[in-house]
Each structure stands twice: as C-alpha cells, then as structure tokens.
C-alpha cells in the first residue's frame, strides 16, 4: 500500500435522503458518572470531559450522584420556563413568516440548557449569552412584551432599532448584550469574572457559545485567560450538532469531545446530557460553586440537538435528513422533564395541557400589546434621530451635522 499524506474531510453521518445515524454519539448510562469534590484538580477529573453526565434514566427516574434533588415545585417552574420558551419561539417564528419582523432564531430542543442553568445560578451572576439562550430571559423574568418589542424594532425596542432581532440585552437583569458576531462574548465574560475577583465580589460570569463557534480564536483566548487567572467563570459550549449546515465534526468534534478542551487548558471540563434538565442543573451548580470558592473555571459541553433551522433564513432539509431530530437519541428536554414529574406523581397530562394553554394565552396577549408599539413595517416608528445617539457618550459635532443633514433630506 502506498504511504502518503492525506487530507481528511469530516464526513457527515447522514445527509438528506439518508437514514439519520447517531452511531457516533458516545453516551454513558444515567447515574454512572461519579461526582467529584468541587475542589478536585482539573487533571484528576479528566473523565468528566469524556463521559456523559446524565441523571434522568429511561424510566424517567432521577438517579446517581449528580441528582440535584430539586423539590417538585422547582421542577414545575423549570418545566414552565422551558415550555414558555418553546411557545414563545413558535409564535415569533410565525411572526417572522407573517412579515412582522425580519428575522428569528429558535432554540427548539435546547431549552434545558438556558433554563436549568439560569435557575442554578444566582440572580446577580452575570450572563453573556449567545443568540439561542432566550430561556435565560424567561428565568430572570423579563416581560415577554419587552422581548417582542426588540424583535419588532418598534418604539419600545430596548436596542432603539439598532440590532437584529434576538440580539437582546438587559442591564438590570444582568444579561449582557448579544453581539451577533460569534464568540466575542467569551473573553469578555472572562474579563468580567476577573474584575469580580479583583474587586473581591463573589458573583460569577457565565457565557454560552455553540460548538461551531468554538472554532473562533475568541474561544481559545477565553479558555487561556480563564485558566491562567483561574477566573470565576463558567464557559458553556452548547453542542447542538450543527453550525448552519456543517455538523460538529467540522468544529473539531470528530476526534475528541469539546469538553476535553477544558483539561487541555488545565481547567475542569464536563460533558453533560444537555437535554436532561436535572443533569444540566447539577453540573452548573457544581461549576458555580467551584468558581465562587476560588477553585477555578469550568468548561461545560452540553450535548443537545438543534431541533429547528439555524434561523429563519435557512432550510435544514437542504443539509440534513428531515427526521434527524426525531431520531436524536437524547430526546426532548421538555418531554423528559414532564415525564419525570409525572413519574414522581407531581404532574399530569391535564395539568400539562392547562399550563400549555395558559402560556399560549400569555404569549398571545403579550403579542397584542407589543404590536401596538409598532412593527418593523407598520408604525409607529422610533424617532430616526436616535440613530445618531450612543455612538459616543456625548454626540460629537460631526454626528450632529449628519443628523441635521438627514433631517433636511427628509424635510423634517
């Protein structure tokens, strides 16, 4: 056989027209992965970055050392936030199709990541999300109307019409502004965490990116600084298997887990079943305590699946089998928590239907209110003078002149 160098191109397991194939996915049985002490040295817990932390088993029972032992009312709140996120997403997707907004991004199938993590953190912890973390807003209680007004770029848009839909922010709620450029928030979160440590405050920073975005230099910058300064930060890679059309192998996930990059940088890495509300909650609690007590940062890889398109601008049937999501081995996070609650005797189909109806009603009413403040296409509109504000703290003369020029152009 001829020996020669070769170029390896990662091969998708299945493309349109083929059978979904998840044989590449390595999992561990629920309850099988040990839970180390929060002060464990990163080098001693490397297995956490290769195995898969799971709590909910196939019978919907919480098992093993990572069981966070949450009370049923807390689980019910988690279910409510996840369900609200999903219903909100569906309605906003429809609004985009109706032309009320230009763009939308759903987090279908990934709801447990934001909701469980949001609940496991303190309200004062600072969040640096990506664009598929709307569940954080549900947990922290931002009124839906506010989110909708941003999506509509209307007169009450928190971004004053300057950002694409979904790029929310909330200073009081301690949720950082979403850029739209990928991974830039990762080193910023580390810097925020370093500042907290410098000031002697015990709030931590938490940030999220997708596995595709982990290819950016900013990922490595963040990992390096987090590790060098042992910054009180949790860095999350939401591995939903897909960048727009390329699977996780193109981001480097084919040879080794993304979580394993944690130990590579000398920090804890945990690979968790991202569709298991309890497991996500538990690893976040572990990592948060670790960060808060000076034991250092953690990289968490959430193994999940992007159930919907990347955004309203792409059609996933062009690059993956239509029934891929249905065949995803780790199931649906909402359904799994629902079944767990039912198994506990703390939930029922009737209560679920009633909750669904209540949340749909809430979304509908919020929407009715939001559109009163305008949509992208129908008035009322924001004052166009606003476009010249906030470039600098004080408006410079050049912008004042340009504002006057626009006013003259429009005859106002």
């Amino acid at each position: 056989m001829a020996r020669r160098s070769r170029l390896h191109v990662p091969k998708h397991h299945s493309r349109p027209g083929e059978e979904p194939d998840f044989s590449y996915l390595e999992t561990s049985p629920a309850g099988a992965v040990p839970r180390p002490d929060i002060n464990a040295r990163a080098r001693d817990i490397g297995n956490l970055s290769i195995d898969l932390v799971r709590v909910l088993d196939d019978r919907h029972v919480a098992v093993g050392p990572w069981n966070p032992h949450l009370d049923p009312p807390e689980l019910q709140i988690g279910l409510r936030h996840m369900l609200l996120t999903r219903i909100f997403d569906e309605r906003m997707q429809r609004a985009q199709r109706q032309g009320k907004t230009s763009f939308y991004m759903r987090c279908l199938g990934e709801e447990a990541v934001s909701v469980a993590q949001g609940m496991a953190l303190r309200p004062t912890d600072m969040l640096f999300p990506g664009y598929r973390n709307q569940g954080l807003y549900m947990v922290r209680g931002r009124p839906l109307v506010d989110l909708m007004c941003q999506l509509l770029s209307n007169t009450r848009d928190m971004c004053k019409g300057r950002q694409l839909p979904v790029m929310y922010h909330w200073a009081e709620g301690r949720i950082f502004s979403i850029s739209g450029n990928l991974t830039t928030q990762f080193p910023q979160a580390v810097g925020w965490a370093m500042a907290a440590a410098i000031k002697g405050e015990d709030d931590i920073a938490v940030s999220w990116i997708g596995e595709g975005s982990s290819a950016e230099a900013d990922f490595h910058h963040a990992m390096l600084f987090a590790s060098v300064y042992m910054a009180p930060v949790i860095l999350n890679i939401v591995n939903n298997q897909w960048a727009i059309s390329t699977f996780q192998g193109f981001a480097g996930g084919e040879q080794r887990s993304f979580a394993a990059r944690g130990p590579g940088y000398g920090m804890a890495g945990i690979r968790v079943d991202g569709n298991d509300f309890l497991a996500v909650y538990a690893v976040t609690q572990w990592a948060a305590e670790r960060a808060r007590t000076g034991a250092g940062p953690t990289l968490i890889e959430h193994v999940t699946y992007r159930g919907a398109a990347h955004s309203t601008s792409d059609d996933p049937s062009r690059y993956r089998p239509k029934d891929d999501y249905e065949k995803w081995p780790l199931g649906d996070p909402v359904l799994r928590l629902k079944n767990h609650l039912i198994a506990l005797g703390e939930w029922s189909e009737e209560r679920h239907a009633a909750l669904t109806q209540e949340l749909e009603q809430q979304v509908t009413e919020s929407w009715k209110e939001a559109v009163q403040y305008g949509t992208l296409t129908d008035g009322p509109r924001l004052n166009r003078d606003l476009m010249f504000q906030d470039v600098f703290k004080e408006m410079p003369e050049t912008l004042r002149r340009q504002r006057e020029q626009l006013r003259a152009e429009l005859g106002v």
Partner: protein, 338 residues
C-alpha cells in the same frame, strides 16, 4: 513641575490614576514585573500589586476582550498592546465590540477601555515594529483616537483618556519617547529636558481630547501633523525660512476642525504630513475636510506628504521615513503653486 521624558510622563499619568481611582487597572504583555518593554509601566506593579497591574499571555485579542468585560464590570482598564503592529489580532474586539457596545445596547452597556500602543518608525524596528495604523482606527465609529507629541500632552491626554467613558486608542510615537526628533537621524539625539514641553506637572491635570494645538504661529502656510511629524514640519519650515503655522492635531477622533480650518482660512495654504502610508491615510480625511471647509480661501492645492505605500523596510528606514527633505520639498511645492 518636573523634567520628564514621554515615558516618565505616561508612567506618571497611570500612577496618578491608579492612586486616584481604585477601579483603574493596567494589563498587557511584560507590563507588570518587568515594567514594559519601553519601561512605561515601570514600578507600577510593585506599587499597586499584581491584581491591578497584570502581566498577560501574548494574546492581544484576549487582552482587549478581557478588558471589555472588566470595563463592563465597573473597572477602567488600561490595556497595553506592546507595538501598534501587534494590534491586529485585537481588531475584532476593538471594531465590532468595544466601539459598538454602547450603540448596540442603546447606552445600557459600555466599557471605558484605554488601549495604549507605541507606533511609528525611526527605531530600526523593521516592518513589524514601525507602523502607524491610526487611520485604520479613525475609520471605525465609536472609538476616540489620539496621539500626543510631547511629554506634557502625553500625560494630560492619557489621564483624559482613562477618565473618558468612551473607548480610546492612544498611540504613542515611540521615536519621541526620549526626546523630540526632527527626522534627521544623523544629528545627536536631543533629550526632552531641553524642550519646554518636557516640563510636566507632578500632579493631576488633563489635556482635553478633541482639541488641536497651534504649536507655532505663522501666516504663510498651515502645516497639519501629529506625533513625530510635528518636529519634522518645524525643521522643514525653518530650513526653508517659511513662516508656517504648525498645528498638532493630537486628537484625530474627535477632530478639532475649527482650529485647523480657521488657520487654513487665514494662511490660504495647507500641507498635511504623517508617517503612515499615504493612500487612504488619515491625511486624506484631513485633506477632504479642509477642502470642503476652506475651498474659497485656498490659494493652492492642499499638499500631502506621508510614508510610501509600502511596508516599512528595515534597511531603508530613512529613505522611507518622510523626513525634513521630503517635507521641505512638499512645502515648497505648496508655497509655489498658483
């Protein structure tokens, strides 16, 4: 008052701000224990500790990215990029994030980061230690861009930059660190102690961002420059015996159009000089603005003298540098036109 070179003046500015404001921190490569490759941060870590004067890994993008997060969390970071030539890995964080954070979040988030970086040639630095990339930054809306030419301005402008709630990219013309330099490398080096602007107050003061300074009054022509080129312009005008009004721009963004254009309207002639490459350089913006504002007062086309549109060649440093001969030739052309 004390005699300071530009390095000492910059050090004094950071020293004063570290002492005045517990939220001021300094971070960068080699800036802590060692005190910086140009000694600008000498002694600061000893005085303020490792939590406020941080040595960092060699990752400019991470330095600026982390500085933004620190700024969002209430600190006032001064990030050093060791050479302006090394700033490019940080450009996404500067252009897409630092510059736009206030805008995209409608004023709810912002980061008062000052990025200090030595620029310019004349120190045998070759093409990776000699660049003047200010024009790349002036093109980005949302950041202020300054460059001092004296120890006095360096200290006052740096304090103003640190206190500014907008991000500032602070260029330090490194050939001026130890003394004014008129572009003639064969002359003996002149220390700042012989220059009036080497007199620097010991304490706190600011030089406002956005104000140019007339460094020499004159009536025949307006020479607009900044950084090292101020001294080259002075030498060229003197050599030709021309009564030039020389303006130190100091702040490129925001730009003091009034001071510049008032002068050009008075003299009717204008020469712009910078070390940076010519094509699409900041001189083009100056020229366009002056033309728009002063067209009917101009007696000759506006002249521009700059570095050649090549990388900065190591072995041909003085042929590249827009020294007094080239500036004098350009000045002569502006004086003789029409």
């Amino acid at each position: 008052m004390a005699q300071m070179n530009m390095i000492q003046a910059l050090n004094s500015a950071m020293d004063i701000m570290l002492a005045r404001d517990p939220n001021v921190v300094v971070l960068g490569e080699d800036i802590g224990y060692f005190g910086g490759v140009f000694r600008v941060t000498d002694g600061l870590q000893r005085k303020y500790g490792e939590h406020r004067v941080l040595d960092t890994p060699i990752a400019e993008g991470a330095i600026v990215g982390a500085a933004i997060g620190m700024g969002v969390n209430g600190l006032r970071p001064i990030a050093e990029v060791q050479f302006a030539d090394y700033i490019y890995p940080a450009c996404d964080q500067i252009f897409s994030e630092l510059a736009r954070l206030r805008y995209r979040s409608a004023g709810d988030f912002w980061a008062p980061v000052t990025i200090r970086t030595p620029c310019g040639g004349g120190i045998r630095g070759g093409q990776t230690h000699s660049q003047s990339p200010e024009g790349i930054f002036t093109h980005v809306c949302g950041i202020k861009v300054v460059m001092p030419s004296t120890p006095y301005d360096a200290k006052g402008l740096l304090i103003a930059s640190i206190e500014d709630d907008d991000p500032v990219v602070f260029f330090e013309p490194k050939r001026l660190y130890n003394g004014p330099f008129d572009g003639d490398a064969n002359k003996p080096a002149v220390p700042w102690s012989t220059h009036p602007k080497g007199e620097v107050p010991d304490g706190y003061y600011t030089v406002p961002i956005g104000k140019a300074e007339i460094v020499r009054k004159g009536s025949a022509v307006t020479m607009v420059a900044y950084g090292t080129m101020i001294y080259v312009c002075e030498a060229a005008a003197k050599a030709l015996g021309i009564d030039a009004e020389i303006i130190d721009v100091r702040s490129m963004v925001p730009l003091d159009v009034d001071t510049i254009c008032t002068s050009v309207k008075k003299t009717g002639r204008c020469l712009i000089a910078h070390e940076a490459t010519r094509f699409s350089g900041f001189g083009a913006e100056l020229s366009a603005t002056i033309q728009e504002e002063c067209f009917w007062d101009l007696e000759a086309p506006i002249g521009r003298v700059a570095g050649w549109d090549t990388p900065y060649p190591h072995a041909f440093e003085w042929e590249y540098f827009p020294g007094p001969l080239r500036v004098a030739a350009a000045l002569k052309a502006v004086m003789e036109a029409a």
